[in-house]
């Protein structure tokens, strides 16, 4: 809640340092190394998340979405609120907006989505090789 309030107050947020991403065919996957949850993003969602890699505000995201052809609805706000609820952001202390990058091209803008995998990866595993749940000895 704290993060989404900060976002709504226009404060700058950034993707947490221990959240890593990889680009897929359409969109991307984030992995939160603290919780071990995966998050699947569609192309629009990934484009928005990239704004926050170096710090951005809600206004930056809205402006970017509008420039990319997004309709004037609350889908961007809802998307970013979800990311805050998943605690994927942190306050961007010392960051300043890098401005809005070039709009998304090459595909039609779709409402941004984020989907959290039902189960996280195991946090305690058998060995450095085997990610299974340890059996009782």
């Amino acid at each position: 809640m704290h993060l989404s309030q900060a976002l709504n107050r226009g404060e700058m947020l950034s993707l947490r340092a221990d959240v890593v991403a990889t680009v897929l065919d359409e969109g991307a996957v984030l992995l939160d190394l603290e919780t071990k949850y995966f998050f699947a993003l569609n192309a629009s969602g990934w484009a928005l998340v990239q704004l926050f890699e170096s710090g951005a505000s809600m206004d930056d995201a809205r402006a970017y979405a509008t420039a990319s052809g997004a309709p004037s609805d609350d889908s961007v706000d809802q998307f970013l609120t979800r990311l805050c609820e998943y605690a994927l952001f942190e306050p961007a202390i010392g960051h300043c907006s890098g401005g809005v990058p070039d709009p998304l091209t090459g595909s039609a803008w779709l409402a941004p989505t984020v989907e959290r995998q039902a189960e996280p990866l195991q946090t305690v595993i058998v060995s450095a090789f085997d990610p299974s749940i340890p059996l009782a000895e």
Binding site: V20, V23, L33, A128, F129
Partner: protein
């Protein structure tokens, strides 16, 4: 104290043991001599120096990796790990083409079952070496035939070994039932490589595959499981392979189904989750990103996915494997 250095070829890694106490050398020999596959490429060198220590080492907290018997931290000096008995491993030096580890083991624990905890520390050094050599370690099985290569993914006890053995009996070649290495080749295509051509089979397997013999007569390979180690060439000669290009991700699960086998397609997201779930990912950005990128690129090369639910006693019925091969 042995005065000679001992070396082991463990896939793309050559392990050199500095002179050490015979008890340490015996335990490490047990762990490493089972790796019997051949590699043409220049090896990455991993030097291990194992010495007794007078007191247990200061505990690692597990900030890099938390395992059941071992915690690993990423420190300014490099990875530092400790086990439950107070043994420790420190990545002490890294250079172009190799690295060295200093391992300390409490002297008073050498003649106790805690000596098994050396395995965790040596395993960490191997994984570090494999990654440095450009490979991603995968806890999975693989079989290949006629240009197809199935990566069989399941948690421990999930049925990888038995399905692998069943497919090998059916004419497939195995790259291993537990430990594999995966990378994107120079041509951008994924490549899976074998590390050891053995099976970890439950003695009950004989009911379906009588040629494995009475496994109860053989020693357990771990106190954790009743399974026994069986070498593929000893039972099914010629049914091993060294490298292959993966074509299918097969998620294997056991279930007491009324039917022998149930097969369904696996979507892209499920394939990603399945394959990445077979890889130990530490809390470290560069390694995590490298693993995720490798898995994503492997899947983008056009792999197909299957969800395979194995029913109880399914291997009595030859229809089981026919259904699987027909679905490929």
């Amino acid at each position: 104290m042995s005065l000679a250095k001992t070396t082991f070829a463990v896939g793309p890694v050559h392990v050199t043991l500095e002179p050490m106490l015979p008890a340490f050398e015996r335990r490490i020999d047990e762990q490493l001599r089972i790796f019997r596959t051949s590699w043409d490429e220049s090896p990455y060198e991993v030097q291990l120096n194992v010495q007794p220590i007078a007191a247990p080492a200061a505990d690692a907290r597990g900030t890099y990796l938390t395992c059941s018997r071992m915690n690993v931290d990423a420190t300014a000096r490099g990875l530092y790990a400790t086990t439950l008995c107070g043994a420790s491993a420190q990545l002490s030096e890294r250079w172009e083409g190799g690295e060295s580890w200093s391992i300390g083991f409490p002297a008073e624990q050498i003649d106790t079952p805690a000596i098994d905890q050396l395995e965790d520390l040596i395993g960490l050094a191997l994984v570090s070496g494999w990654r440095a050599a450009g490979w991603t370690p995968v806890h999975g099985a693989a079989v290949t035939r006629d240009g197809k290569c199935l990566l069989l993914c399941a948690m421990s006890g999930g049925g990888k070994s038995t399905l692998t053995a069943a497919l090998v009996r059916d004419g497939w070649q195995t790259l291993g039932d537990d430990k594999l290495l995966l990378r994107l080749g120079a041509d951008g295509e994924p490549e899976v490589a074998a590390l050891l051509h053995s099976f970890n089979l439950h003695p009950k397997t004989r009911e379906w595959f009588p040629e494995v013999g009475d496994l109860e007569l053989q020693p357990r390979y771990s106190a954790w499981t009743p399974k026994r180690k069986v070498y593929a060439d000893d039972v099914w000669p010629g049914r091993t392979a060294q490298r292959a290009r993966p074509t299918h991700i097969v998620r294997v699960r056991r279930d007491p189904l009324p039917v022998p086998i149930a097969i369904a397609p696996l979507g892209y997201d499920e394939m990603f989750r399945t394959l990445i779930g077979q890889i130990a990912i530490p809390n470290e950005r560069t390694v995590a990103i490298a693993v995720m990128r490798t898995v994503a690129q492997v899947l983008l090369s056009g792999l197909r996915g299957l969800d395979v639910v194995i029913g109880e006693d399914c291997y009595r019925d030859p229809v089981t494997l026919k259904a699987l091969t027909a679905a490929l």
